[in-house]
Symmetry: C2
């Protein structure tokens, strides 16, 4: 089919008429589908059910060092959990703190602590006139919600397939000491599925921030969440790179097993330099007596080691790969070449990012909603919920069944076409009037 932009008003009208018919057809189906959040589907959750068998009433709940996981103690995680998560995060176990069930909560705490107590002896952020964060966009709405909650000013930095615009990051960070952090999802990014290039990671490690308490918030949420066994993105390990270039304290790195075992009932972790760890533990020891060691042990016993975890992730991939592929196939079939938007083709993670023509995203999401398909709200991928182009839409293909997903994806393309056609017709008509 020829691009919409080359169509006459008459052709556009004919096309819109047909698309509206398609849309009504979907409305008649009385759909209730959800492509809004990056949630694993039931089959994925079933993969971890045997983890619950690992600990039962007959099992010894002592660690290798003899610690009884059932009792108080061990502030920063049991040794074997640090070993396992260390292998998962590609960091030394001594650089790791094992937390509770939510890495988001760890990030929140990290910002909250910087607000009230500062980082490594620097002034608490709450006592400064202005605190700013860089936000690669589009990005993860829950990151932006944390900085917004604390009144931190968010500055957008454009993303590209190789990562954030590093010229801009370097410039801003070196010039403005009110900039205290940057939110990064460096691998299979949320929402694009981009992975930072080697050059991007190297430039991150070599940043020369004006603020001594600037930190990179490196949320490696999808570190081992590949769709393919061989065709995987590889990310230079940031802590090691920072250490190599004499910037050891520059990064807080986060991860969790939320999308490996059970979301909300996994284990979260931070990896960072020993200096940062020492700083953090001053708070940690006041905040809690310790996190859930029984659950840490459960995870360790289930996976055994990183090979066990990798095998487990291949099973996840086998379930969700067809879903990503189905969405991409439908997008290609329906949208390729018509100039109604573009989308990413990630090799891992939980999302596909769709960019409509400017000014169409909100209308597309509203139309989908009206036909029974919930998408992530347009704008959600930008700070303050404001997408200046009104074009980005995050697609989360994992949760629905393959069958439902295909219906939802097809409907989505119908909404994209309908909104795009309406917009183009409006423009062409008003141009014709002039």
């Amino acid at each position: 089919m020829k691009p919409y932009s080359e169509m006459t008003i008459y052709e556009l009208e004919q096309e819109l008429k047909m698309i509206r018919k398609h849309y009504r057809h979907f409305q008649d189906l009385d759909l209730h589908l959800d492509m809004s959040r990056g949630k694993p589907c039931t089959e994925q959750l079933d993969l971890s059910m045997e983890m619950l068998d690992e600990l039962n009433g007959e099992v010894d709940l002592r660690c290798e060092d003899g610690t009884d996981c059932r009792n108080y103690g061990v502030l920063d995680g049991i040794r074997e959990a640090k070993e396992l998560i260390g292998d998962m995060m590609e960091n030394h176990p001594d650089n790791i703190i094992i937390y509770g069930n939510s890495s988001l909560n760890v990030m929140y705490d990290t910002v909250a602590r910087a607000m009230t107590h500062g980082i490594m002896g620097n002034k608490p952020w709450a006592k400064l006139d202005r605190v700013k964060f860089l936000c690669p966009v589009p990005g993860y709405d829950r990151h932006f919600a944390i900085t917004e909650y604390f009144g931190i000013e968010m500055i957008c930095v454009p993303m590209s397939p190789t990562g954030p615009d590093m010229d801009l990051v370097e410039k801003l960070v070196s010039e403005d000491d009110a900039i205290k952090g940057i939110w990064c999802v460096p691998k299979y990014s949320n929402p694009q599925g981009y992975s930072y290039s080697d050059e991007t990671v190297r430039r991150f490690a070599r940043l020369k921030p004006a603020a001594p308490d600037f930190r990179i918030f490196w949320d490696n949420a999808y570190g081992i969440h590949h769709l393919y066994d061989l065709d995987q993105d590889y990310l230079i390990e940031i802590l090691a790179e920072c250490k190599r270039v004499g910037n050891p304290d520059l990064v807080y790195k986060f991860a969790s097993t939320s999308k490996i075992t059970f979301p909300g009932s996994g284990i979260a972790a931070m990896a960072t330099s020993l200096n940062n760890l020492e700083d953090i533990k001053k708070q940690l020891k006041v905040q809690t007596i310790g996190h859930d060691k029984v659950n840490q042990l459960r995870h360790v016993r289930f996976f055994g080691d990183i090979y066990g975890m990798t095998q487990h992730m291949r099973k996840h991939a086998d379930i969700i790969r067809p879903k990503f592929e189905a969405v991409e196939r439908i997008f290609e079939e329906e949208l390729e070449g018509i100039g109604a938007g573009s989308w990413t083709k990630p090799k891992g993670g939980y999302f596909i990012s769709f960019d409509s023509l400017p000014g169409c995203a909100r209308a597309i999401v509203a139309k989908a909603k009206k036909a029974g398909v919930t998408l992530t709200g347009a704008g959600a991928t930008y700070p303050y919920g404001i997408d200046p182009n009104d074009s980005n839409i995050r697609i989360a293909p994992t949760y629905p069944t393959l069958e439902d997903l295909q219906i939802a994806a097809r409907l989505f393309t119908v909404c994209v076409k309908m909104v795009t056609l309406e917009k183009m017709l409006d423009e062409k008509r008003s141009n014709a009037e002039v």
Copy 2:
């Protein structure tokens, strides 16, 4: 035996000689005993092992309302957990938020949130020149550590067997709007095992604080932790009392199952007014996607209901009651009538509080340590670790075996006598010189 105070110098010397012999005897035993923290013993932990059988690979992990506990969602806890913990806390399920594994962490968060965001529209505490908390003393060291960490000034209020000195609390709270909170362990208090009298609770509910954002931090850690089945302390339920007297938002109430199932792997909760809950949830939704629902379900399935939990607590009582009784018996045998200190006789909770003669506590703890018995550090029960009388020592009888505990308690009395005798002799001799 006659009181030390009535002994002559010669008699005191003879007594000290004998006690030192006893002490050396204990030193020869090469002890490594710990009476420092309120930790359940192994037999207590074994009581909950069957909880691990409740959820296994074959079990349906859906809530009664169909929610799959394995996936993301449910910010404030699953309904059945709210019902169970509601019965445990004597509060309506709608007044409850179920958190993660640590009530201490909930209290920390509550203070941290007040620091950065204020309470119900009031100015954030971090923006005030001074913030103060009342601290009934002796009290719980980890409470004091939180307020100390946030630079909150702590004002000591003396405890009595009926609770804090309410004349003083009322006066301070009504006069000074910098006073924003008070730490309370209202039932089987830490360390005395005192329970607030009806009048005390009623006066708490009727406080007229100068600060609109004053809150009572009501840590009902030992709400169902009775030693006896009939001879139990009863506490007027504070939320209901506050509501009855027109002060509904005055209290944050905390509890957990840490000393019911597994410390560190239980579930924690807060109960408070709907207004407070609404205020708190603005933060909660930014902080996390949700707490560990699988563990909530595990607890609910294990206990079934509050009757199941009550039966379970009787098993705990049967294990630790003999330990409390042994300590009390040994203290009576060794210390009754000699005027070397006094101790509490709680009907529940995890501690016995010992008060030596002024100026003796640190020396007693040091002597015990030297003979291989670790006690809670002297001063720990006071803000900033400073006991102005140097007299309070917290005894935690639950963790050691009954056999070890009896040795440790006996040694403790020897240390008490030795330090008291040395001090009295010093004083008598210097008086004699004058």
